[in-house]
């Protein structure tokens, strides 16, 4: 899968409380989550962001709580994939489990508004604005299969158990 879209860039250590405050997490209504996504970090996020665009961050994106509502809210708001220098581990697993592509590009220098071309399978991000190419950490076996199935629910629906190579 190749995603070509505009980048929205945020900084380091963006925690799950800023992605979706705890007070909004007690719901199974996905549209409710999407309404409040990133509001304590950037109250205008939803006005600026168009579905299909790419979220880019610095180090340790998604640190803090285990709330899966964080990647779910971003997915529901139309985030097509997230690129960060590195992710907090629970957020990373949660995103993959929801079928939301996440790529680690430790050396990226993407600027707000840059247009990117993201090759999810091969872990390559091209910055179409500057011409730079960033190598990303590639997904390992199990994660790759989970993402290919669109998430862990579909994966287990299909296989019934973890399939080890």
């Amino acid at each position: 899968m190749i995603i070509v879209a505009k980048a929205h860039v945020y900084g380091d250590n963006i925690d799950t409380d800023r992605i979706i405050p705890g007070k909004y997490t007690k719901t199974l209504d996905i549209s409710q989550l999407a309404q409040h996504v990133m509001e304590d970090l950037d109250p205008e996020f939803l006005q600026k962001f168009s579905p299909g665009e790419i979220l880019v961050a610095g180090k340790n994106f998604g640190c803090g709580s285990s709330r899966e509502q964080a990647p779910l809210a971003l997915k529901a708001a139309g985030v097509s994939c997230i690129i960060a220098k590195f992710f907090a581990r629970i957020f990373f697993r949660n995103a993959i489990n929801l079928g939301l592509p996440v790529l680690e590009a430790p050396e990226h220098d993407i600027q707000h508004g840059d247009r990117l071309s993201v090759d999810i399978e091969n872990g390559i991000v091209k910055n179409l604005t500057t011409g730079k190419v960033y190598a990303c950490t590639r997904l390992n076996g199990v994660m790759k299969h989970i993402l290919a199935e669109g998430g862990l629910v579909n994966y287990l629906k299909k296989y019934g158990d973890f399939v080890t190579d």
Partner: protein, 414 residues
């Protein structure tokens, strides 16, 4: 490399899969137990059903705890709680309803997690159980649903960081101060994907409660788990301790002499923004909170009571106290700790996460300065992005409530 020994994480994971594994390997492991809370269980139950799940792998090993917004503050949350109660009834699994306490304390109180176990919790502070010499790891709802279905989880065996803390701690310097010191040294995210192994004479001298406070904040380091060496660990039952091999491989070793360490605090808005409490002495506070899975056990409450006995918190300060669990609450009632705290002006609320997670039971107002024994002070954490949160030990929080300003307990007589 082949001759090198094993870390505690490698040893525990190897015992839960069908081979001996090393850091970096991917494996599918059997879990000894798992749990979810009212923040994570509803989504997990939904995902479990969507996966085609009918029965959880073993109802005796799956626990549901209603602690994050308990009792329910509104009808939406009330209905999610009902969903959990109905699921527990249907599956015959353990339900710890409102007032039972904070999930992590409940699991330890009820001996649902023991040394050497591999435990998965749908809560980021699950590494708290590392205090029991356990490999315990936090996950989100869908991962937990997969565990409910299969009794298994896939893991990458983590590299380990060895932390050695030596020296005798000063009075009123606790496991929390050590945890904050490590947040400063390693920074948030500094141990991402890794296991933190805690060793040294200062660690060996800690009670289980203080070990839990220390290990709890492994989550703030980004670690997959924290595991405390069993040296000096006293439990009310027999267990087989798991030590690392002397020639185990560590990605990093941090050795610190904590003799003479002063009380620590984390200033807004990050748990690694850590200084000696003294640096902020005199900063006015209007709201003090003693609670959360980091610091609300019996010894934490007793420390606060000792500082507040026969005195009263400053005018204009609210002190909210949430005991870690029903067991802790009852013990603190029986020994007079609760009475002392209430006489000193504290508002004691039910056992649970309380205001730590910003849902209810004490959201701060605009521009308020809060001092709290919890583990996170991110902007908005307690429900209001315009409040500022300092994190510190129970002794520091109690003393700050007493004077209405941040105060270090370093000069207090014991």
């Amino acid at each position: 490399m082949a001759s090198a020994g094993y870390t505690i994480a490698e040893k525990i994971i190897s015992r839960h899969t069908n081979r001996i594994v090393r850091a970096g390997e991917l494996c599918v492991v059997k879990v000894d137990g798992c749990m979810a809370t009212d923040t994570t269980a509803p989504m997990a139950i939904k995902a479990f059903r969507e996966m085609g799940g009918l029965k959880v792998f073993d109802p005796a090993r799956f626990h549901l705890i209603i602690d994050h917004a308990a009792p329910a503050p509104n009808e939406k949350v009330a209905n999610l709680h009902q969903m959990m109660r109905n699921f527990a009834k249907e599956q015959g699994c353990n339900l710890f309803d409102i007032g039972s306490g904070i999930c992590h304390q409940v699991m330890v109180d009820h001996q649902k997690v023991k040394p050497g176990d591999l435990f998965i919790g749908a809560d980021s502070h699950t590494p708290t159980y590392g205090a029991l010499n356990t490999f315990a790891c936090g996950v989100g709802s869908t991962d937990l649903a997969a565990v409910m279905l299969t009794g298994k989880i896939w893991l990458k065996v983590p590299q380990s960081i060895k932390v050695i803390l030596n020296g005798k701690l000063s009075p009123y310097v606790s496991g929390k101060d050590l945890a904050l010191l490590l947040c400063k040294k390693l920074t948030t995210g500094g141990a991402t994907y890794m296991a933190v192994e805690y060793h040294g004479s200062a660690v060996a001298s800690l009670t289980l409660s203080q070990r839990m406070a220390l290990c709890n904040m492994s989550a703030e380091l980004g670690a997959k788990t924290g595991i405390v060496s069993p040296e000096g660990l006293v439990l009310p039952y027999d267990y087989t301790p798991i030590f690392p091999d002397s020639n185990a491989n560590y990605v990093q070793t941090i050795e610190l002499d904590v003799c003479g360490l002063k009380p620590q605090l984390a200033a807004p808005d990050s748990p690694d923004n850590v200084y000696d409490v003294r640096k902020f002495e005199g900063t006015p506070v209007t709201y003090a909170f003693i609670g959360s899975c980091t610091n609300s056990r019996l010894d934490d409450l007793q420390t606060a009571a000792k500082i507040l006995k026969g005195k009263h918190i400053a005018t204009g300060v609210r002190l909210v106290v949430a005991p870690a669990s029903r067991k802790v609450f009852l013990e603190a009632l029986a020994d007079g700790t609760i009475q002392t705290l209430i006489e000193a002006g504290a508002t004691v609320i039910n056992s649970g996460c309380g205001p730590c997670v910003g849902t209810h039971e004490g959201v701060p107002g605009d521009d308020e300065i809060v001092i709290s024994t919890a583990n996170r002070n991110f902007k908005g954490r307690m429900g209001n992005p315009r409040a500022k949160i300092f994190l510190a030990s129970p002794a520091t929080v109690a003393l700050s409530a007493l004077y209405g300003k941040i105060t270090s307990p370093e000069n207090e007589s014991v």
